[in-house]
């Protein structure tokens, strides 16, 4: 049991970061606006949590110019996808063990 708990990824313990990763697992890329409305959070909350994931190299953040406005595009890295899958299977193991 202790072993499984150590597989829980602390980075994904946060609900917003978990949400960002979940969305990026099933979408190749998502822009800032859509991700924000999907998770129903503020600009600052999204940016700060996204940069935590970027520091871990779990996601890539690209800024593009669309006319005069910038558009931020998020995508998951391979490392991020692997880390997320491990986290997910750890969660499942914990649930199964207790039941």
């Amino acid at each position: 049991m202790k072993d499984i708990i150590s597989q829980i990824n602390k980075i994904f313990e946060n609900k917003v970061r978990l949400g960002i990763m979940s969305a990026l697992m099933v979408n190749e890329k998502i822009d800032f606006k859509e991700l924000k409305s999907l998770l129903d959070i503020t600009d600052g909350n999204l940016s700060s949590n996204a940069s935590v994931l970027e520091k871990e190299k779990y996601i890539k953040i690209k800024k593009k110019f669309v006319g005069k406005k910038t558009s931020t595009i998020y995508s998951a890295t391979d490392a991020g996808k692997i880390a997320f899958k491990e986290h997910l299977s750890a969660l499942e193991k914990i649930i199964r063990n207790i039941q």
Binding site: K15, S22, V26, N27, E34, L38, L88, L91
Partner: protein, 208 residues
Amino acid sequence: MNEHEKQSIDHIKDIMERSSTFISLSGLSGVVSGILAIIGVFVLYTTFDSLFLTEEMLLSLERERTFLKNLSIVFITIFLLSVIFAFIMSYVKAKRTKDSIFNSSSKRFAFNLFIPVLAAVFVIISLIQNQTFWLIIPATLIFYGLALLSAGRYSRPEILHLGIGCLLSGILSMYFVEFSFILWGIGFGILNILTGISMYIKYDRKVK
């Protein structure tokens, strides 16, 4: 402890579903287009005074241009009304759930639906020009079925089932031409209504 993990898993599932599926597609709009299609079959019935398509009826389409023109107008109107209703009702549903109707999954859904429908328009125009009227009903059913199969991946699984149903009705109507009107009514009418109702019960009712 266990609760916390369960909540996480539920959150992951919810986000994955909402970000990859066009969930705002209104079930009731399917019922509306189904009813419109049945009205269409009724128009065919009153025009020809028969529910069974015969050789003679096809010949009368060649002779009388006004017949053809009126029927085209009726069915183009039905098609446009269905699209407009689907859009408005999905828009209202998205508003209520605070989702956007213009997200990447709805765009993917619309794109994958639009391409086969556009191809169908050209095929139908060509069939009319070549007076191959008997193939119009199978063509509309088959293209609608294929369009739903291609777009359904970005929405609920019910859409895929509806697609298969319409495709089968279309194929059957090529081999049993005399039953074309009835098969058209089953595909566009009854199957649409049943799919719409089941989607409404399964997904939409909870929203309220």
